[in-house]
Amino acid sequence: MSKLIGRTGSDEWAVQAHGLVKLYGKAQALDGIDLAIPRGQVFGFLGPNGAGKTTTIRILATLTRPDGGSARVLGFDLAHERDAIRARIAVTGQFASLDEDLTGYENLIVFGRLRGLSRAASRRRAGELLDAFDLTAAAGRPVGGYSGGMRRRLDIGASLIVTPDLLFLDEPTTGMDPRSQLGVWQLVRDIAAAGTTVLLTTQYLAEAEELAEGIAVIDHGRIVAEGTSAELRARTGAGTLQEAFLTLTGGPTDSSPTDGPTDGSPADLVLATSEDS
């Protein structure tokens, strides 16, 4: 047995972070982030563009080293047990994507091999996932030609080759049409139901409210509020999560509302996904 399997890590917490700081030059991207995310939850990380959501995810997923603070992921020390963490997490999102030149099938096989599956097991698993994600017909086409929804399904599929204990989903439905969005939401619920902790960043209030049990609102590199969506509403005296969000993050972003999710700029959608209806 590999050394990695020797310990199973914390049974209670998926993420415990204390005072995470990240500087980019003089800009303070993260200004002391504390987080405690229980295992088995879908946890939503909500904030406007540039608030620090992606930076936090990158740090917790071992992609960026923090300039200050400490964290344990699945019970393992982020500074010293990075490989143990990597063996148990998967990252899907805006930044961690797929190989555009390869077909969907080839992408899954490459990741299967890199996850330690044998050639035969990789092929079998790729077939299963393509089938489950309704991508069998597109399996032989390069990913560069996929639609946004197909790409994101494959992207999530690649993260599930070996189902992780903790799945990072960075803005999983940004730029998606409403139907694909519903499909991804259902998938997130299924993954969580199977015991995987999901840490989701989103600019969409509806998405956080729909999926996340715990929500942290981040703005200017700080957590400005944390709780369930009901708690956040109660705390701010707001009738909707949208109002609570605007109160917490100090007003609307500089974008104008639109009628609903479109393929337009993600920032437009922050205000578009109103909870009023």
């Binding site: 590999s2 990695l4 399997i5 990158r58 997923a61 071992t62 992609l63 080293r65 490989d83 143990a84 990597r86 063996a87 148990r88 997490i89 998967a90 990252v91 805006q94 930044f95 961690a96 994507s97 797929l98 190989d99 555009e100 030149d101 390869l102 077909t103 080839e106 490459v110 990741f111 091999r113 890199l114 996850r115 330690g116 599956l117 698993r125 299963e128 996932l129 089938d131 489950a132 994600f133 390069p142 599929g157 690649a158 599930l160 080759i161 070996v162 189902t163 998938l187 299924d190 993954i191 199977a194 995987t196």
Partner: protein, 262 residues
């Protein structure tokens, strides 16, 4: 539900990871075969063109000229595609898929090594084409199979040493187009200012000096010595030392630069 598959925590070993990255790099060539155009066109065009246009004038006859020219175009054909792996690496480190690779518990050097092994595949393809073409138009290497195999191995080794160099450059400039144009600009002049096509005796003195110190001349001499069985060993020794020196400098440098990316 079939999307869920929990296995014991496992990780790919160095060999499996390197194999997966090599396979991926080869798939990229398969999906974009135009990457092979240079690999094939440069040695073919230069071999055929020079053999028939200049062969009579420079070597007495095309067949005699081939004895000098062919080992040289082999060197040229391989060195001129040494920046491809670097360009692909530069592309990888600037796209999202690199971040995904970095969240996997695999040996970090596997991605770089995968590109280099795919490069070796390109070099062997170029070498096979040059040799087949040369023999088809009348080259008869006196060194026989051992000489040809030795010569090809030496030139491929030189190509791989340069691959490390371009991989280091790629990690510094982080832009595939820059790596490609730098590669062309840096490799083309010394390919001509060498003894691949003509003996340097009619060149001006400063150029002769350059040709004599040009590594491409030395490797071409070494390939000639091995393939034509001349018995000379100085150029071979020099080339092996150069390959070792370049690899020992740029191998660790590349790995260091690559690890810095995290």
């Amino acid at each position: 539900m079939s999307v869920i598959s929990r296995g014991p925590v496992s990780r790919a070993g160095v060999l499996a990871a390197t194999g997966a990255f090599t396979w991926r790099a080869l798939l990229k060539i398969k999906h974009e075969p135009k990457q092979l155009v240079d690999v094939i066109a440069i040695p073919v065009v230069f071999t055929v063109l020079f053999t028939y246009i200049f062969g009579g004038a420079l070597g007495g006859s095309p067949a005699r000229y081939l004895t000098t020219l062919l080992p040289g175009t082999l060197v040229m054909g391989i060195t001129s595609c040494t920046m491809y792996g670097g360009a692909r690496l530069a592309q990888d480190v600037t796209t999202g898929v690199f971040d995904r690779f970095r969240t996997l518990p695999v040996w970090r050097g596997a991605l770089v090594l995968g590109h280099l092994l795919a490069d070796a595949g390109r070099y062997l393809l170029a070498a096979t084409i040059v040799m087949a073409l040369g023999i088809a138009i009348g080259y008869r290497p006196a060194g026989g199979v051992p000489g040809v195999v030795g010569g090809v191995a030496l030139v491929v080794g030189f190509g791989l040493a340069l691959s490390w160099l371009w991989a280091a450059v790629a990690l510094l400039v982080r832009d595939p187009a820059t790596v490609m144009s730098l590669g062309l600009a840096v490799l083309m002049p010394p390919s001509f200012a060498s003894d691949i096509f003509v003996q340097p005796s009619t060149m001006p003195g400063w150029l002769q000096t350059f040709v004599r110190v040009n590594p491409i001349s030395h490797v071409a001499d070494a390939a000639r010595d091995l393939m034509n069985h001349t018995g000379g060993t100085a150029a071979v020794t020099w080339s092996l030392l150069a390959v070792a020196a370049i690899t020992l400098v740029f191998g660790p440098l590349t790995v260091g630069l690559y690890n810095r990316q995290s």
